[in-house]
Each structure stands twice: as C-alpha cells, then as structure tokens.
C-alpha cells in the first residue's frame, strides 16, 4: 500500500510539472472545449425563455449553472482514450510499461490525476468569465461541496475504467474507431452530457439508472446544481464506488485475456 501511495505521489508530481509547462496549450484546449456546452446552453436558454423562464424544471439560471459545472466535470472526464491505447500498442510503449513492476493502468490513473490539479486551477478563471456572461443561479450547501469534491473524482475513475476497457479492444483489432464513436454517441445521450437527464424521456432515464454513464456527468453536476438530500448525495457516492469496484473487477478479468493475446502475437 505504501509503495502505491509513493508511486502515485511521484507520478502525479511529474505530470503536474509537465503540464504546467504546457499551460498555454492546455488553455487553448479548454477554450476549444467550451463551445460544446455553450451551444447546449444557448439552445436550452432559448427554449426556457420561450416557455416563460423554465424548461423541464430548469430555470434559465439553473441551465447556466448546469452547463458551467459541466465544463469542470467534462475536464475531469478526460482520460487515456482508446485511441491512446491504439497508439501505445503500435509504438511499442506498452512493452516498456509492462517491464515495470506496476500495472500500466495505475500509471494512467496517476498521470491524469496529477494533470487534473492543473486543469482545476486553470478552470477557475474560465468559470468566472462564463458566470459573468451567463449568470447562473446556485443554491449550495457545504455538504454539497464536500460530496462534489468526491464525486468528480468518482466520475474520473469510472470513466477511466470504461475507456480502458474500450481501449483494450485494440489488443485484438485495430479497426475500432466505429465502436468508439458508437460508445461516445451512447454516452452523450445517457450521461447527461447533452441535456440534464431529467429532460430525457422517462424510459431513457430509467435505462440510464442501470448504466454507469450518468455517474460520470449528471450526478456530479446535480450535486451542486440540484437539490438532493444528504442521503441522496451519499447514496450517489456509494453508487459511484460500486461502479468503480465492478469496473476494477471486469478490468482485471479482461486484462488477463488481453495480456495473453499481447504476449502471443508480439509486443
């Protein structure tokens, strides 16, 4: 355990030092990403105004709050992509990573976790500007802040598990971009990335209850934007933990097969 903590701290330090050097590039990237939520926000603000100030239970200010928090959650959700897996296998980097006495996925989690600290710091001024333009309304309790601070890391871990699983498909085949795009399409609809889940038809909402996606977007955002009771907040965290746990189990299982495949065909 101590050895993992040591590894995580060292690894996060490296990635923070690296990413600070690239603050400008990081900023450009973040600004580029902001167009997506702004488009959604404008569309739903227009609708809410047309209907006299609210749509699907969200006021204009609540929509603004939703999509501004969205930008932070989206940044937390950036993890090692399936395309990255394809690259690391093709370039032989995975071989070098496999020579270390530590699981490569630990390396990914630690590296991106360090990066997140830089991202959160860079996000604060962006959030201030967006708030000044779009005037969100918040009603935040301190308990929500605590749970939010946990929930964004839960979202990060769940999405890491999902995309690692997806990425491992590249151990078997390289023609996978269509599968990845299908996944991203599903995620867009079922996670709350496109619209708050409560605007979705009832059957979509109940479907999303059985899937991990909404715990990576809708739940963390709703912690701050919605009005959940303490019990709801904490049971949400438990759900996230459950998904992370099952993710780890499935990941380990598939990893065994993946490595078998890798060491059979070359590295």
């Amino acid at each position: 355990m101590k050895r993992y903590i040591d590894f995580y701290l060292a690894s996060m330090k490296i990635s923070i030092l690296e990413q600070i050097q690239y603050s400008v590039a990081n900023y450009f990237y973040m600004i580029g990403m902001i167009t997506e939520p702004v488009i959604y926000l404008v569309v739903w603000t227009t609708i809410a105004k047309q209907q006299g100030g609210s749509a699907g239970g969200y006021t204009v200010g609540a929509f603004a709050a939703y999509y501004i928090i969205w930008t932070l959650v989206r940044n937390m959700n950036i993890v090692f992509t399936p395309y990255g897996w394809e690259w690391r296998i093709r370039e032989g980097r995975l071989s070098m990573e496999l020579m270390r006495p530590i699981h490569p996925i630990h390396g990914d989690v630690a590296f991106f976790a360090g990066w997140k600290f830089v991202v959160i710091l860079l996000w604060l001024p962006l959030a201030a500007i967006l708030s000044w333009i779009f005037r969100p309304t918040f009603d935040i309790r301190w308990m929500e802040v605590i749970v939010f601070a946990l929930a964004i890391w839960g979202a990060y871990l769940i999405r890491t598990m999902l995309l690692s699983l997806l990425g491992m498909i590249t151990f078997w085949t390289t023609r996978v971009s269509a599968i990845f795009e299908l996944y991203f399409g599903l995620e867009l609809i079922l996670s709350g990335r496109l619209v708050p889940m409560t605007i979705m038809p009832a059957w979509v909402q109940s479907l999303s209850n059985y899937l991990p996606f909404k715990w990576t977007f809708f739940f963390p955002i709703e912690v701050l934007v919605g009005n959940m009771t303490d019990a709801q907040l904490w049971s949400g965290i438990c759900m996230q933990a459950l998904w992370v746990g099952s993710g780890i189990l499935i990941l380990n299982l598939i990893w065994g097969f993946a490595i078998k495949q890798y060491s059979a065909v070359g590295g």
Partner: protein, 261 residues
C-alpha cells in the same frame, strides 16, 4: 498548369488511393449514422418542449442539420486535410516540394489531399435535407435552389479562406495544431440557426468564423427566408475573405525560409 486540371488530377489520385481502403466506407457510413442519430435525438428533445425554436419549425431545423452535415463533409474531405498537410509542411520545412512545382502555389496546396470517404457525410446531408423538404411539404422553386447552391458555394469558399488565413499564421507561429480542434468546436455551433446565439457570439460566428454564411444562410435560402440583399451581402463578404486570405498567404509565403530555418 490549368488549376482545374491540376485539381482534377489530384482528385483522381486521392480517389484511387482511398479505394484501396473500402472498409473505411462502412466505418464512415456508421459514423455518419451515429451523428445523424444523436442530432435527431437532440431535435426531438427540443421539440418535446416547444413547437418552434426562435421561429424555426422542426423540419426547418432538420434542414439546418442537413446543411451542417453536408458542409462538414466538404470541410473534412477537402479543406481540413489540405490545411493540416500545409501546417505539417511548414513545420517540417517540406513545403519546398510544393513551391518548386510550375503551378500557382495556393492552388496546389489547396488540392493536394482528398479524403474521398468523408463525402459520405455530403450524401447523408443531402438525404437529410430531402427528408426535411418532404416534411415541409413545400416545393423547391428554381430561384430557391439557385440561391441555396450559391449560398452553399460562397459559404464553402469563406470557410476555406478562414482556414487558409489561420494556417498562414503557421508561417510565423509554428504551434497551431490545436486550431483544428478549436475550429471543429466552433463549427459545431452551426448545427443550430445562428439567430439563437447572443450578439457577441453571433458576430464572431458571422465575421470571424463564417459559420453563419456556411450553414445558416444556405438553410435560409432553402426555407424561403433569404432575400436578394443578404445574398448580395454574402457575395461581398466572400470577395473580402478571398482577398484577405490570398494576401495573408502571400505575406506568409514571403516569410517562409524553408527547411534551413
């Protein structure tokens, strides 16, 4: 060399090249369907709440989506690949090969790449537009069609000019790779009619990145919202964009010092 002949030659090479990877056609088709599906879901969510959005009915917004898809296909098959190759060439100092050919350099760098399968989006876009038209139950007049085609052409030329301007900047500032990302993000704004955006954003989407002219104006032509004055205005803007782009390109080129830099 005749620029049209030149373009056609490269086009043929591009098609022949891509025909080797025919599986990509199905992958592209699947990806187009995914983006149409998510677009339709977005529309149905909006119209689950309201009957018109900023004065646009559901089939009209479907037409906007079709135009957006069509123009996106054009960007990804011709404009973006050529401009990204140009950026790479400037960065690696390998542009010399293009500059030493006996043809206008701007024409040459604009036609070297062609991603044939991306045109699937153009076809799918046209299908979506046709469906929208069918739903609108209106007939397409000859002037309406001409106006649409003219607007589409001008929009394409404007987008190309903006890309060329931004890419020309790479002659001075080498790190512009993230531009593609930013551009894609901004182009996504065109999925909805430009009128819904706040003033500052609308101005940007009209004059800086002319998504308004590339998508909304052609869609307006289709849905009978366009008058001659706007079309004339678009024409004037196109000329301006082309002149600016040409100027910046030439200026950048004179600044290019090749691989030795």
């Amino acid at each position: 060399m005749n620029p049209i002949k030149l373009a056609l030659t490269y086009l043929r090479i591009g098609v022949l090249n891509e025909m080797q990877y025919r599986v990509n056609f199905f992958i592209q088709l699947l990806q187009s369907f995914i983006s149409v599906a998510t677009g339709l879901i977005g529309l149905s969510l909006v119209f689950g709440q309201v009957t018109t959005l900023a004065g646009w009915s559901r089939p009209e917004l479907l037409a906007v989506m079709g135009v957006h898809l069509l123009m996106g296909g054009v960007i990804r098959s011709i404009i973006q690949p050529n401009m990204e190759r140009l950026m790479d060439d400037v960065r690696n100092g390998t542009l010399d090969f293009a500059l030493t050919k006996p043809a206008d350099a701007q024409t040459l760098i604009s036609v070297r790449e062609f991603r044939f399968w991306q045109l699937v989006d153009v076809i799918v876009g046209m299908v979506v537009i046709s469906i929208a038209f069918f739903q609108l139950k209106s007939s397409l007049g000859i002037f309406q069609l001409l106006g649409f085609l003219a607007a589409l052409l001008m929009g394409g030329v404007m987008l190309y000019s903006v890309w060329l301007m931004v890419t020309s900047i790479s002659f001075w500032v080498i790190r512009v790779q993230d531009i593609s990302n930013l551009f894609e993000g901004l182009y996504a704004a065109g999925r909805w009619p430009i009128g819904i955006y706040p003033d500052w954003l609308r101005t940007g989407l009209t004059f800086l990145v002319p998504v308004a002219f590339a998508v909304t104006v052609p869609a307006e032509a289709l849905t009978n919202r366009l008058d001659g004055t706007s079309l004339l205005f678009a024409f004037g803007m196109t000329i301006l964009f082309v002149i600016f782009a040409r100027g910046l390109w030439l200026l950048g080129l004179s600044n290019y010092s090749g691989a030795s830099s």
